[in-house]
Amino acid sequence: MTAIREPKISINGVTLVHVNEERRQEHLAVEDLSLDIVEGEFLCVVGPSGCGKSTLISAIAGFMKPRTGGITMNGRAIEKPGADRGVVFQEYALLPWKTVLDNVAIGLKYRGIAKPERERVAREYLAMARLSDAAEKYPHELSGGMRQRVAVARTLANTPEIMMMDEPFAAVDAQTRLTLQEELLRVWDEHPITVLFITHSVEEAVFLADRVAVLTPGPGRLRELVQIDIPREARHWDTISTDTRFLKLRDHVMKLVRNPSR
């Protein structure tokens, strides 16, 4: 992260409000947040539960509109959902009625790419996710970790400009989570793409990110942006857990999350 790169996504003074129509309640999720996501970077957003982290993805994806402020991609305002902003959801959100192969090919299908070509591309991404054997299976036949790898392959196969991941590994067991984190970095290395990764785990954020954005408890505001200058070659769990740079950064971010007022 030496060269100065263009912001891919620009979040300017954004306030996000959840509206519960049935109870006629409003909940302020994010308040006056400004943040740039730089082209090609891996940005993690951490913060305690209820700080509006996931809401931020909804807004960038175009599922909801900011109450105030604006979000742009490549300088243009975001109006509605689109294939240029792929989301990997915590609950996988694979289509149960489609095979793994058809799930990975779905974005290409939506874009009207012919069947042989989209299946060829989907198989390529499945091989990358080391899931070739599961191509003809249905999602319910896979473990949680495998389902999430399918979801990542589905989003990457659609070649969006940014991949947004909403606590993607929160529902899998601790051991699988470590493997998935390393897998994600390997895949990201092969397919460089701008990533916005939401998590409540400080360790996960520091392990994965180029930069970590720490949000305050709800309503979320930007507390601090922390640069993670650990080389990519050092990002392996068996060595990094004793790496002093990692430990220092982790403790620093942890402090920010736990003492948000200071």
Binding site: L94, L95, W97
Partner: protein, 265 residues
């Protein structure tokens, strides 16, 4: 992959527990056969199973029975298609669009309470005795037995699946075909199945009152001549045809779709 998954139409091997379902039928048959010998029920009230069987063979050989069955099934198929072709798209529209839901819900509730056989008198005035009246009544019955299943089915689809489709570039039509219809299919199949059962019952009833042929008509017509064996034969056929439809049509569809997808265990 297990062999059953590879060939979903393969019949599973006969298993003794599954055959237990035959036992109640045998008990009823035995009671029917021996009742006249134990008390003196006259034959015109309860003809023996053998007489009904002979009637069945006779009417099959002269073709009259097949003719009635064909008339009923044909009518059922038309009414079924008509009812569901309106019910399923309208159900989807109600579930997806609040304006449609607000507009249609009260009027549907109103007409649901008078669905089916209650329409026969007016149907006879409008369409006369015969085909039109019977079709109108069964299509109407099938429509109301099916539409709410579709509504519930669409409403049960997790919100996140819509979002997943949208952020991978789905158009409105893509959402309907790749999320809404398959997502609601468990319930749509429930609707297709129950509406067939209700439609079948309404068909028999409507044929009795407003029909000129068909199994229902045949059954009531026989009463005039005290042909009790034809009445009983008609009732048995109504039940047997339903079992056959359910077993040959709905179960295989379920096996290759919603069960395969893990939506039903």
């Amino acid at each position: 992959m297990t062999s059953q998954a590879a060939n979903p139409f393969a019949m599973s091997r006969i298993d003794p527990v599954a055959m237990a379902g035959v036992l109640p039928f045998l008990a009823v048959l035995a009671a029917w056969a021996f009742a006249p010998t134990l008390s003196d029920i006259p034959t015109y009230k309860l003809p023996a199973p053998t007489i009904v069987w002979e009637t069945f063979v006779e009417m099959t050989l002269d073709g009259s029975l097949l003719w009635e069955i064909w008339a009923s099934l044909q009518r059922l198929a038309v009414g079924y298609l008509l009812g569901n072709l309106i019910a399923i798209p309208l159900g989807v529209a109600i579930a997806l669009n609040r304006a449609v839901a607000e507009t249609m819900t009260p009027v549907l509730s109103f007409f649901q309470s008078i669905a089916g056989i209650a329409w026969v008198p007016l149907a006879i005035i409008w369409f006369g005795v015969g085909e039109g009246s019977v079709l109108f009544v069964i299509a109407n019955t099938i429509f109301f037995a099916s539409i709410y299943s579709t509504v519930i089915g669409v409403q049960s689809i997790p919100q996140v699946l819509y979002r997943a489709a949208l952020c991978h570039g789905a158009s409105r039509w893509d959402i309907i075909t790749s999320v809404v219809i398959p997502g609601a299919l468990v319930q749509i199949l429930v609707g297709l199945r129950t509406s067939m059962a209700y439609g079948w019952r309404a068909l028999v009833a409507a044929e009795m009152i407003a029909g000129t042929n068909g199994i229902g008509y045949m059954t009531l017509e026989a009463v005039q001549w005290y042909q009790t064996e034809i009445v009983i034969l008609g009732m048995i056929l109504i039940g047997v045809l339903w079992l056959a439809l359910d077993f040959l049509v709905f179960r295989p569809i379920e096996r290759v779709t919603v069960r395969r997808w893990g939506l039903l265990s």
